[in-house]
């Protein structure tokens, strides 16, 4: 068992990252939000009863990605995807993907490759100096170059010496060219008195330019990784000879130096210092460096151009640290971080590199999530010799490897922001062990409000992309609920149907069912054909048709989804009501025509006998039989529904229902009444009135059916007793 403690007040104080309002003695209630977010609220202490008055609700979000991190992540994501796809197929990553990745995370790349130490320092010394609170070499150079007479500045020669020391020969040449004597010499207008200065400056510039042209300094500056390339015997010999010349020059031109010193001592001393640095003089190299990092680069450039990382750099770093120690208590933390990091890198301790970075707090989760790609790259580089097997090991408790650990952490920071939630899903998709589950939890927690249908559609698209069908169903259910609470029943029905959730679909359609039930109840005792509330369901019918069609198609595709029974019933019912409405219109139209044509007044039966009426009645019959055959009618509605059709059963002149239909209706009624409807007791209209309506409608329905059966002479007498029994039961 591992024991960690937060009991030490000072330790806790040091770890405080945020302060939120909360009265003394109260409690700070919290709950997790999406990603790296905590929601807090002051509540009254249940025992002391203190606090909770004028309480504040607070929100703390941490590790929020900066705008540049977000931009970088969006840029990197496609390449990262390519890289991961590439690595899935084999260990060799796609080169173009790598190049793009390197471009995006250039800073990271240069830290790990250290392929050009001097160049790396040139690019990043500004950042380091900002942390140290000192002026960078570039700032010093800019100040000198902006001056009318840079050579008279106190910092001119020290700056020049530092530039030469760290291998910035181009910048050193520019600064040297800005010397007054050099300018005059170029214009062939140099006074005799200044001639020694001009000659010395020109000589120094010539040596520097020659070294730059011969690639001596550049090869040296390439440092650790390029060292092997520069370590040819020939290159070493040329370099040694050139350095010797630099060392010999002051002796060979002693008079010139003396002459210059008599006129301008600073120039003579400055040129001497530059030549000493170029000649690899330890004292002058150390003098030109302001910290161990500068010194390390200077040493690499001028003294140890052939150093190899694992063999020599470690001891060289420690020697530089001895010359320029780190004040860990002060502002030198960045130098300490660099030292620890480089030490781990040169020793190829991948795990130590990760630990140094993760514990430093200096790098973001973005950095941590991406640096492993570079580690993999450097592992393929034999010269660095890093072994990445350690980062591929599953972590205890977590299960996945370190790469997944940091990717998950970075995805977590992206989750808290509406603009980056899709990006968070991309990163989760690259987490092989935890990604799918995490994506599921995250997607289900997004705020799918009624006004946020765009988010719903986007999330569903993501579910399809990432193959999260169960999550998609949950999102549809959520969207359906939101729509339903807003009173948009049709939209709710559509979402529930898409989620294949029949129970919620039935719940959403419950208001419509209740309306139908109430209409059927109120119709009991009415013996005239009339449509029940059909006009109210025009749009619903269209929607239901879509729902049922899509459900049927899903069934055909092999999904275990049944056509929702409630929707089926409602659709069939609406169709029936429309057919009834149609038949009533037909009747009234024919009656109208009869009156207009001064034809003899005809009875209803005679009118029904006309062809239009026959068709309309047949439509009613077809729809009703459809309803019966669908087996979707709630049992409690069977008697009243049957009652509503009585006028058509009695329409003898038309006879829309055949004897077979009547038999079928008989069977249907008996089967429905034989089994008690479990929903009857729970139905919101299961009132005494409802009970009475069932009794009445059952009795009348039975009577009518009996009469039709008798007239058809096809029903056995014995079955009638069934209805009698049912009547008693009801």
């Amino acid at each position: 068992m591992n024991v960690s403690t937060a009991a030490d007040a000072q330790q806790v104080e040091n770890q405080v990252v945020a302060r939120v309002p909360c009265a003394a003695g109260a409690r700070l209630q919290f709950s997790w939000g999406l990603g790296a977010e905590l929601r807090l609220c002051e509540i009254q202490h249940p025992v002391s009863k203190s606090g909770g008055v004028e309480a504040a609700q607070s929100n703390v979000v941490w590790s929020a990605p900066s705008a540049s991190h977000k931009a970088l992540s969006f840029a990197v994501a496609p390449h990262q995807a390519k890289l991961i796809q590439g690595s899935c197929g084999g260990k060799d990553a796609d080169a173009s993907g790598l190049v793009a990745l390197e471009h995006a995370v250039w800073q990271l790349l240069e830290m790990f490759y250290v392929k050009d130490m001097a160049r790396w320092l040139e690019d990043n010394e500004g950042v380091i100096c900002r942390h140290l609170g000192t002026r960078s070499l570039q700032e010093r150079l800019n100040d000198a170059m902006e001056s009318v007479r840079p050579d008279v500045l106190e910092d001119y020669w020290p700056c020049l010496q530092s530039l030469v020391a760290v291998g910035r020969s181009e910048d050193a040449l520019s600064l040297l060219a800005a010397h007054d004597a050099m300018k005059m010499q170029q214009q062939c207008d140099i006074p005799t008195a200044m001639l020694p200065q001009g000659i010395l400056a020109a000589a120094a510039a010539g040596i520097l330019a020659a070294a730059a042209a011969a690639g001596i300094l550049a090869a040296a500056a390439a440092g650790i990784l390029a060292a092997a390339a520069a370590a040819g015997i020939l290159a070493t010999a040329v370099r040694a000879s050139w350095q010797q010349q630099c060392r010999d020059l002051p002796t060979q031109c002693a008079d010139l130096f003396q002459g210059c010193a008599d006129i301008n001592d600073k120039t003579a001393t400055g040129v001497l210092a530059i030549l000493s640095v170029l000649g690899g003089d330890e004292g002058h190299v150390a003098e030109s460096a302001s910290n161990w990092l500068d010194l390390l680069v200077s040493e690499l450039v001028h003294q140890h151009p052939n150093v190899k990382a694992q063999q020599h750099l470690h001891s060289l770093m420690h020697r530089c640290l001895q010359v320029h120690p780190i004040d860990a208590e002060g502002k030198d933390q960045v130098l300490e971080l660099m030292f620890n990091l480089m030490e781990a890198m040169v020793e190829s301790e991948v795990q130590r590199v990760v630990e140094v970075l993760s514990s430093s707090g200096a790098v973001s989760p973005f950095f941590m999530a991406h640096m492993y790609e570079l580690m993999y790259t450097s592992s393929s580089n034999a010269r660095l010799g890093m072994s990445v097997s350690v980062i591929e090991r599953p972590l205890p408790l977590f299960g996945g490897d370190q790469v997944e650990y940091w990717r998950l952490l970075f995805a977590e920071t992206l989750m808290s922001h509406p603009s980056t939630w899709k990006l968070a899903l991309d990163y989760l998709a690259w987490c092989p062990l935890h990604g799918a589950d995490a994506a599921e939890s995250f997607l289900e927690a997004l705020p799918y409000g009624s006004e946020n249908t765009q988010l719903v559609h986007r999330a569903l698209h993501q579910c399809t992309e990432h193959n999260l069908s169960a999550t998609a169903n949950s999102i549809c259910r959520t969207a359906g609920c939101c729509a339903w609470y807003q009173g948009r029943i049709g939209e709710a029905v559509r979402w529930f149907a898409r989620a294949r959730d029949e129970r919620r679909l039935a719940g959403a359609l419950e208001p419509a069912m209740l309306q139908i039930e109430a209409a059927l109840v109120s119709n009991v005792g009415n013996y005239q054909a009339r449509a029940l509330t059909a006009d109210n369901y025009g749009d619903l019918a269209t929607l239901l048709e879509t729902v049922i069609t899509s459900s049927s198609e899903t069934c055909k595709e092999g999904s275990a989804t049944a056509v929702p029974t409630t929707a089926s019933f409602l659709l069939a019912f609406v169709k029936l009501q429309r057919a009834i409405q149609g038949s009533i219109h037909t009747q009234s139209d024919e009656l109208q025509r009869a009156i207009q044509g001064s034809i003899h007044t005809q009875s209803d039966e005679a009118l029904a006998g006309t062809s239009d009426a026959r068709l309309a009645y047949a439509g009613v019959r077809d729809n009703f039989m459809d309803l019966v055959n669908h087996n979707a009618v709630p049992k409690r509605l069977v008697p009243s529904l049957l009652f509503s059709i009585i006028p058509f059963l009695e329409a003898d002149g038309c006879m829309p229902f055949t004897s077979a239909d009547v038999q079928s209706l008989t069977r249907w009624l008996s089967s429905c009444l034989a089994v008690p409807d479990p929903l009857v007791a729970k139905s919101s209209v299961s009132t005494p009135l409802h009970a009475r309506h069932i009794k009445d409608s059952t009795a009348v329905s039975i009577e009518i059916i009996e009469s039709r059966r008798a007239s058809g002479r096809e029903i056995e007498r014995s079955q009638i007793s069934i209805f009698g029994g049912c009547k008693i039961q009801v």
Partner: protein, 340 residues
Amino acid sequence: MSTVKVGWSHLPLQGALISSQQNLCGTRLATSTEDDSQSSEIQIWEPGLGQGEWNLLSQIQTPDPIVQFVWAHQEFGFLLSGCSSSGGVYVWEAPRPQDSKANADEAAAVEDEEMNGEDEPEWKQRFGMKCSTAPISDLVFVPRQLGLALAVASEDGNVCVLEAERPMAPNAWALQSKFMVSSKKGPVCLAWRPFTPCLAPLLVVGSTEGAQVWQYLPSFMKWQKVVALPLSSSAHGVSSLHWAPTLGRQVDLLAVAHGCFVDIFSLAGSLSSQDKLNCELLASLEHSSNVWKVEFNMLGNCLASATDCNHVHLWKSDFVGAWQLVSVIQGAEDAEEAEA
């Protein structure tokens, strides 16, 4: 924690705030207050347009002060449950479409009455029952995949599981099961194991007698104790516990708060009759004062613990599985002045 953003707003409440809970997606906030006249109310809030601003949606009188809230998963709609110290369990729901219609009809009938513009339908209590004669100390919805059901723990040591008869009809709940987890009286706390297909529901229960994992046996329709968690100390009863989201882990993680300690357990193995669950105490996290709430984040990689001295500690496990305090959020009276 390279960057930290903090925001807050004061809720315009009458009386003292007893409990508050935001839903997971952050679109609703429930609060419960009690004023000097012992009148209890709950308030439902939605985010306002301003940063950190909350607008009052609904205010409902309650018979007893609600000491704890829990929101149902949003796929069940806007559903809030709460419990009281008198043993009551309640369920409130956002206005339904029928309510809006009824309100509209009512408004039409009294159209000559004053036009106050406050015709927004209110949240309604859909269900309420006295679950126990003892105070209810914890309630929690089951994982959404298992349906709409609530586990309720009372201080007499009983746990009840209430199940809604139908989704979208939170007015009818049935007692699905009831079992005793502790013979001693005292606060009982609960946490469900996140859903895993083909695995029976598991519940971890904390009481004055320690923490136990219980399993539901569908074939017998009863709950049975599976394993007792070996706490690092038995001096204090369990005040809070939480089951970490499982994600793709090989082992489950549980956090149990007791006294000043939070114990982290791993749970592995099979639930079949032949094998036993293998429970291991991984870490014991010591705090400077009593811990009253613990909760893992959505990914289960960070644990937050709230103490009686207004600190919320954030703990993370490192690469070797050791738990480290990574950050602290401090509640302070002078936080606003310091910010200003």
